[in-house]
Subunit: 936 residues, 2 copies
Amino acid sequence: MAKKYVYYFSKEKSDGDTTMKYLLGGKGSNLAEMCNIGLPVPPGFTITTEVCKYYNENDKKYPKELVGQVETDIKKLEKLLGKKFGDKKNPLLLSVRSGAAVSMPGMMDTVLNLGLNDEAVEGLAALTGNPRFAWDSYRRFIQMFSDVAMGVPHHSFEHSLEEVKRGIAQRKGIKDVESLFQEALNKLIPDTALEGDDLKELVAKYKEIYKKHKKSEFPQNPKEQLWYAVNAVFGSWSNNRAVAYREINNITGLVGTAVNVQAMVFGNMGDDSGTGVGFTRDPSIGDNKLYGEFLMNAQGEDVVAGIRTPLPISELKKENKEVYNQLQDIRLKLEKHYTDMQDFEFTIENKKLFMLQTRAGKRTAHSEIKIAVDMVNEKLISKETAIMRVKPEQIDQLLHPMFDLDEEKKTKVFSKSGLPASPGAALGQAVFTAEDAEAWKKDGKDVILCRLETSPEDIRGMYAAKGILTARGGMTSHAAVVARGMGKCCVAGAGDIHIDGKTKVMKVGAVVVKEGDWISLNGSKGIVYIGKIKLIPPKMSGPFGILMKWVNEYKRLGVRANADTPNDTKVALSFGAEGIGLTRTEHMFFEGDRIVAFRRMISVAPEVKRLRDLIDDETDSEIIEQAKKDLKQPLEKYLQALKDLLPLQRKDFEGIFKELKGLPCTIRFLDPPLHEFLPHDEKGQKALSAALGTDFNKVKDIVAGMLESNPMLGHRGCRLGITYPEITEMQTRAIVEAALNVGKKGIKVKPEIMIPLVGNVKEFTLQKEIVLKTIEEVKKQKKIKKLPFDIIIGTMIEVPRAAMTADEIAKEAEFFSFGTNDLTQMGCGFSRDDAGKFLGDYVKLGIYEEDPFQSLDIKGVGRLVQTAVDLGKSTRKDIKLGICGEHGGDPKSVEFCHKIGLNYVSCSPFRIPIARLAAAQIVIKEKVINLKQRKK
Amino acid sequence: MAKKYVYYFSKEKSDGDTTMKYLLGGKGSNLAEMCNIGLPVPPGFTITTEVCKYYNENDKKYPKELVGQVETDIKKLEKLLGKKFGDKKNPLLLSVRSGAAVSMPGMMDTVLNLGLNDEAVEGLAALTGNPRFAWDSYRRFIQMFSDVAMGVPHHSFEHSLEEVKRGIAQRKGIKDVESLFQEALNKLIPDTALEGDDLKELVAKYKEIYKKHKKSEFPQNPKEQLWYAVNAVFGSWSNNRAVAYREINNITGLVGTAVNVQAMVFGNMGDDSGTGVGFTRDPSIGDNKLYGEFLMNAQGEDVVAGIRTPLPISELKKENKEVYNQLQDIRLKLEKHYTDMQDFEFTIENKKLFMLQTRAGKRTAHSEIKIAVDMVNEKLISKETAIMRVKPEQIDQLLHPMFDLDEEKKTKVFSKSGLPASPGAALGQAVFTAEDAEAWKKDGKDVILCRLETSPEDIRGMYAAKGILTARGGMTSHAAVVARGMGKCCVAGAGDIHIDGKTKVMKVGAVVVKEGDWISLNGSKGIVYIGKIKLIPPKMSGPFGILMKWVNEYKRLGVRANADTPNDTKVALSFGAEGIGLTRTEHMFFEGDRIVAFRRMISVAPEVKRLRDLIDDETDSEIIEQAKKDLKQPLEKYLQALKDLLPLQRKDFEGIFKELKGLPCTIRFLDPPLHEFLPHDEKGQKALSAALGTDFNKVKDIVAGMLESNPMLGHRGCRLGITYPEITEMQTRAIVEAALNVGKKGIKVKPEIMIPLVGNVKEFTLQKEIVLKTIEEVKKQKKIKKLPFDIIIGTMIEVPRAAMTADEIAKEAEFFSFGTNDLTQMGCGFSRDDAGKFLGDYVKLGIYEEDPFQSLDIKGVGRLVQTAVDLGKSTRKDIKLGICGEHGGDPKSVEFCHKIGLNYVSCSPFRIPIARLAAAQIVIKEKVINLKQRKK
């Protein structure tokens, strides 16, 4: 038997059903399914997605069986409806619509009224006794068909419509018609004001336009029309916009679109006809009631085009109560059948209701959650289904202030080339330096800090700003990481913006934003607007809370937060964090005056190191004596600076421990290269020279001496603690003393010390020795025999070598936390700050499915993680395993972490609910897979 | 039974033998062994190295059994020799000498004549009838003992000797004695001119000096003297110099030094006594004859001290023919017994010969090889032993010009803080810019290029220079890598040199070298001298050639060269290379005018890329049209530049293929980040702007746009070929066309194309597609059906992710070449340019045994390599495997490569003999291990 390429559907009999989505597309499978459950659907047939694949792979040819199968189904339609395709008197008219398995804007969409020609239009007019309807249908068909199937742009026809309208206006005696603006003209002469003859005139003009563009007459043969339209749909699968859409939305695994050919029903047949769209529940707030809008005497495109304002669906009661009630019944039937909120299209033809489409309705995150929770309560779905239905990424919307959508749509875009680096929305006046941000903030102003890129020197300015905009850098650039950590809106790497920090101006092309100008950032989309947009604060609504409670019934993976301050900790706990997986101690050094003490320390540290080495290595006793003398002063300064930092850092830890009330807290020792803490501009260096009482040139030398060719692979992480063991001592002491102080108040503490950037077990043991020695010293000083709390010492696994030698490291380390940012940098050899130059291409070319800094590269970096887990467990069975890279909040990565048996993930506070949901979903997925396997 | 801590030896009976080196030290075990084979050795005993360990670990205490065991052996000596330790009339005198398993300068060395005191000296004088001898022995003992055992510096005693000599001179009536310089005084009154009374006076003075320093009398109790001396030896094991020596020379696994206590024999008993050192063959040229020197009426220290000039050993025939003949016999006996060249010490006491020490003699690389080859011919040793005896690193000396050692010793050192970055020696006038180097070279001058660090812009200056000196950078810095590639002497990272490129001056402290001053570099030691030192050209002497032929009978591993030019290739082949493992195509772009064409290409490339992306991504057809127009001009320039580069590159490959005559040649595509090819200084950018006819500011922008935060992890390697596929096309075409052209001349060719920096198999397949497509194009153009040579396509494994996914990559790649430089950088997270800041500490602290850039980090990076080998073979059984990082010429790394089954190593031409030797040695080692296991 020949392969089946065409699937017929009608109320009486359907070849397909809802399970055949990949073959028939979403639209096609649901049309068949609606027929199957007895809903009023105009009959038609669907050409499968396989044909699309064949067409695009075979030089735009079709399988030879196709034409025959299509003609057979057209005959079935003719027979059922008593009409004939191309008939002069009673023509069968068709709609042709695309429909892939996933809804996809950008493809050729719809051609209505196909089958009309110069003769059939007359027949239709005679048959319906409604010439206006017939000619209106024909002119719509010409315009739509020419645009989508033949490439004659839609706007080419607009001028003619205007001409005809001006003619009518003149005939009506309206003055100064020629000078009327189009808008005014449309108000005076709406489309509905055109009579049959006007439309006939318009058809003639349209055909002329077509001829001018295509150098041939408008096709009169209905079959020819049909195949042109089908070709256009299949061809549009691979046009730029559709390809781009699939890329952007990560849509893979589809072979093509299907084509749905369906008998026309007419909403424009008169005042007892109409068309509309409906939702089985309110898609924006989730209420359980029929929602939608309609237009009488109109075809579908009129609802979308916005020329006439549709009415709310409740008004349909007045127009046609029977149809309204019928829709209410259908709503319940659809929901019961699909057990999900549906978005449907309908047409009323001469008072009779037809369903043209149904699909799962798009909805806001808010309504998604409300509907899911409600449906559990209505016993329509299970808790598991409810949890699975909410996409983790959607929740993000609920956790940040957002713009009023309507206002946002109307606001002028400044740049849309940026990355959605830290979600939420923010508005403020543009400033171009961190200092200005601080100063303006002091004056009570809201500011957006706009920088080419940010560096640690900008931290205080970043704190002060409402949002951060950079022209350079990726999803894990400094700006992005810090902003996400702060839960602050950020658009990063907006490459089309030219920022001039000196003149305090930025431009995109000719559009200029000056200091003090208001701008608005959408950090969830990466868009920058000019002007202010109204903000809507985040709501932690009831159903959300309920869903997140259910989530905890399922998930096995722990979810901790990356948090550096008591305030971050508080926020994280309110989102359900079960502890802290990463406290970055260095961020504490940027606040307030501590940067001064810290800089005092690092500005003498290299000199201390140099002299110590000299004393160690030299054999000449005179040189040694001299070096010992020389060492005295810098060593004093160095130790004093550390002494000054100790109480500050201890206080930070106390604050965090108090918030945590006994939940675990992983504290990472100083990690970034020291030069990140020093000013790199002359102004800053002069200020530092004054603060230190050190010669300016010497300060310059110190900073220059710390610069590195590849700082990511340089003197940082535990390498600092090995060179400067006193830093490790100070940090250990701060942690232990803080824990003791908080413990005295009857609050439990559970500190975990984490040594960063270990690549070799010996680095770890050397640092661990210092930690243990310092703990003993504190105990001695405080006269304590045994610490009244447990403290464990572990490491980050972020250097590939550490992963490869994790068996050795696990003998010494009590826990591993995967630092997947660095593991990705070193594992893939991608500098997060530079990879922007090619990573876009890499994703486009399919080298990586996603940016590996956003979603863990499971095939590559994941193998390193897996290796480390296996090796680690081989020497320490019960080793605690977590992840604290940016991936800890990425649902796919969370899934991977669950599968390889980590104990927890840790992510920024604002992603905690996302991670929790993802952790629950993978448990449910596994359950489903297990069930399926058991059935086999 | 109590543990044995003391091992007795005498001609009659010895507790030890030569196999007990780790317990008795080299000296102790060989003293016992010489006794065993019947050589005349004064009796004595050895306190074991275990005692040293105990002493240093137990707060300077000894095992309780020790004293008893020592006293027992002293009694044996007393009985054997008929003398008594501390006796007033016939005292037993002892020497106390240190001796670890490995000879180690820096430890306390020797105390002679121990046992003398105020009474015993009189007895000795009476017994020998030689008061001069007795008092001379006592004063020597006081000075030596005070210095080495009691910490009273040697020079403290010098003034007294001078005083006594001036007294004698005055007595002799010499005028102006007080104003005589010390040297003149020593000539007038040599030590031998001192009579018994003078020496007695001197002893009194020495004892005063001792008292002044130590606030106590000189110890008179011989046992007390003995234990002081033993303590000093054991204590010196852990002094700074000894620890530093072990660190520098990678001496690990020793527990301590032994102490040898031996009955004294006296070379200073009169004119029929004497002392000397001998070698069983000539240690500097390897001739098979007795070699050495001696002094009559002297103790060992006199030979070393250089106050009297020793006589060549052939002169001994005249002094004492019998002893001379005896030494000739001993020479043969020793060589037969030890089957190696020996370095020995002897003393003649009253015409009687005593052997005091023997050990394997130190020798030059030249004599090492000659002796080994001679001994095979003499059937003393096997070929295998000969091969094993030559240290691979030693060979390096033979492959480069070297300084005349005597001249070098006398020349003033400018800096010794540098690294031996590229071996050999060079002298020239200091210049401070690459341009100057070129200009001076043109004027016929020899120059040394002195830079803070070098960059690719300096390449032509580096070519022009005789040697390269940098103040910054490690063993794998740009200067070091390029210099080794060129076989050019280089001292890198001489941190104490302050180079001022502007004023063209460099300084170490107050010592200044100006432009044009002559300096000399020892690249094998990392030393910079002021002035000229005579150069000795390298010799490829006969025995060396023979040995290298033997090597090929054993080694299984292939040895290829990293070579970028026909000349490099020639050198490599002359050293025995079996092909080229790495041709870095980018080096070709720096030569002559091609850099201009190359810069033309990269200066428009980003614009081409930007517009192409726009055309791809944009949906607005107007913008697309505009972009297409805009693209035209830059695209033309870009393609033209590539077209210009093609014939140049093709010619390079032709030259290399011709040299290789069918040996394989692995060619790596363009690898470094593009900005390395652009000038970073204003002057260079202005010149480029003129050459390109592009606005200076635009040139600045282009360069700035290419800068990266972490260039090692940036836009380089195959990432370039993916962004700019036309570069890959051009390089493929150049290779294939060159191979065809050379093939036409009847010369075989075997090109292998290598895609660099692959981390993901898809990167490889995308590049491979371009290569295959281009080959097809060439074939079509040349009307060839099948290429007349094989061409294979493989990749470097240098990104950790590539190692972890090598199974995937091996499905596509026909060979792997491990780029262990980058694999180390990314695997360990060490930037080779920055790691100098902490890697020194890392080696000192034992975190890494050696600098992982010099010797492959087998435990970590090695695991990545091993993983890649295993995974690669799992999907392509016969995959060709090689290594082309800097480690390919490191013997330990070569050993590892052999063990994991690589097919070949590739290294710089000048290291090829080293790699070949190492490859043979591991085969022999394995054979020995297998034999041992079979015996078990």
